[in-house]
């Protein structure tokens, strides 16, 4: 709680007394985002892996996956959405409490992925407004955590909600994939 005097009022650093209520509310929403378990297919296994001990979503205040949409404010659509599942997904999204966000995890949720056929909805953004698209099939826990951090950043700045009010569409942020091993693996058995 310092005050850099020669900078005048600008030097007053950020603290409780001088913080805006809006920042406090956004910070509270960001750090206790409760995801609704919407695990559909293979991405759900990776989402559970992200919730597990090794990748540990709890570091971001999200280790509790709420089952009922009444207590959840983030829907991670993890897996391919079939035509039979589309109305159910829309119903669960409508029943979620405001303010709510959607992460479309995996290429099948984002764009139908490799299943371009009669059974799969080609992209969940036809049904619900999507905020962050996480690429990968399945995206590793690192990519999911990267998507969640991106969303946290957008919630903290608050412009995600302003755009939602005007256009009703999601923030539609695309992120790149961040998993896999760093150093290349040398193949043995060359002889």
């Amino acid at each position: 709680m310092g005050w850099d005097l020669d900078d005048g009022l600008a030097g007053l650093d950020h603290n409780v007394l001088t913080g805006r209520v809006e920042d406090l509310v956004r910070w509270a929403r960001k750090s206790s985002l409760m995801p609704a378990t919407f695990g559909l297919a293979c991405c759900a296994i990776e989402m559970m892996g992200a919730g597990g001990a090794h990748y540990d979503l709890a570091r971001f205040g999200m280790e509790v996956f709420r089952a009922s949409p009444r207590q959840a404010d983030l829907m991670i659509v993890a897996g391919r959405v079939s035509q039979k599942m589309a109305p159910v997904l829309r119903q669960v999204y409508d029943q979620m409490m405001e303010p709510k966000w959607v992460i479309s995890m995996g290429v099948c949720a984002s764009s139908g992925g490799m299943f371009n056929n009669y059974a799969i909805v080609q992209g969940v953004d036809q049904i619900v407004p999507v905020d962050v698209y996480a690429p990968g099939c399945p995206p590793g826990p690192e990519t999911l955590i990267h998507a969640i951090n991106t969303l946290h950043g957008k919630i903290l700045t608050g412009e995600i909600l302003r755009r939602r009010d005007e256009t009703g569409a999601g923030a539609e942020i695309h992120i790149e994939q961040r998993d896999g091993q760093s150093e290349p693996v040398v193949l043995a058995g060359r002889d």
């Binding site: 009922s68 159910v88 997904l89 409508d94 029943q95 405001e98």
Partner: protein
């Protein structure tokens, strides 16, 4: 007058807190009502027929259990705090209070309030096989390893 001041302040605080929390959510939370939010949540399915109003009696047993234990405890706390000053008179009063509550608990147990569903009865008598529900049964005792010596014999092929 001073003696009752804490109680009055406490009551006032309770009322104020109730009023604030009643109206705060209306003001602070964003409200976008839609038909789905009012609808009952049934795992994502829109229920096509209304759930019946009549509930089986057994659910009321659970309500009774709650009343017996929770409400009774609420009355025991103030007694426990001041049982020294109340002396024997207090003890008699508390025992008189507890007896009818305990009587309803006995009635509940007699009516099988805790014995939910036939499953438990069926399992305890070992209807399926003796020793199916027993503490001694661990992973080691319940499985047997069939080596690679042969396939199921004639009898086992049922």
């Amino acid at each position: 007058m001073g003696q009752y001041l804490p109680i009055v302040v406490l009551a006032l605080l309770a009322v104020v807190f109730a009023v604030i929390s009643r109206f705060a959510s209306g003001l602070l939370a964003p409200s976008r009502p839609n038909p789905a939010k009012q609808a009952p949540y049934e795992c994502g399915i829109v229920p096509s027929r209304e759930p019946p109003e009549r509930f089986p009696v057994r659910f009321y047993f659970v309500a009774m259990l709650f009343i017996i234990f929770d409400v009774e405890i609420a009355f025991l706390y103030p007694y426990a705090v001041s049982h020294g000053t109340l002396g024997v008179g207090g003890l008699v009063a508390i025992v008189l209070f507890t007896i009818p509550v305990f009587a309803s608990f006995v009635y509940e147990i007699a009516n099988g309030g805790l014995d939910w569903g036939p499953r438990r009865a069926e399992r305890s008598q070992g209807v399926h096989a003796p020793g199916i529900v027993s503490a001694g049964r661990t992973t080691a005792t319940t499985i047997r390893r069939v080596g690679t010596e042969g396939r199921p014999t004639e009898g086992e092929a049922a």
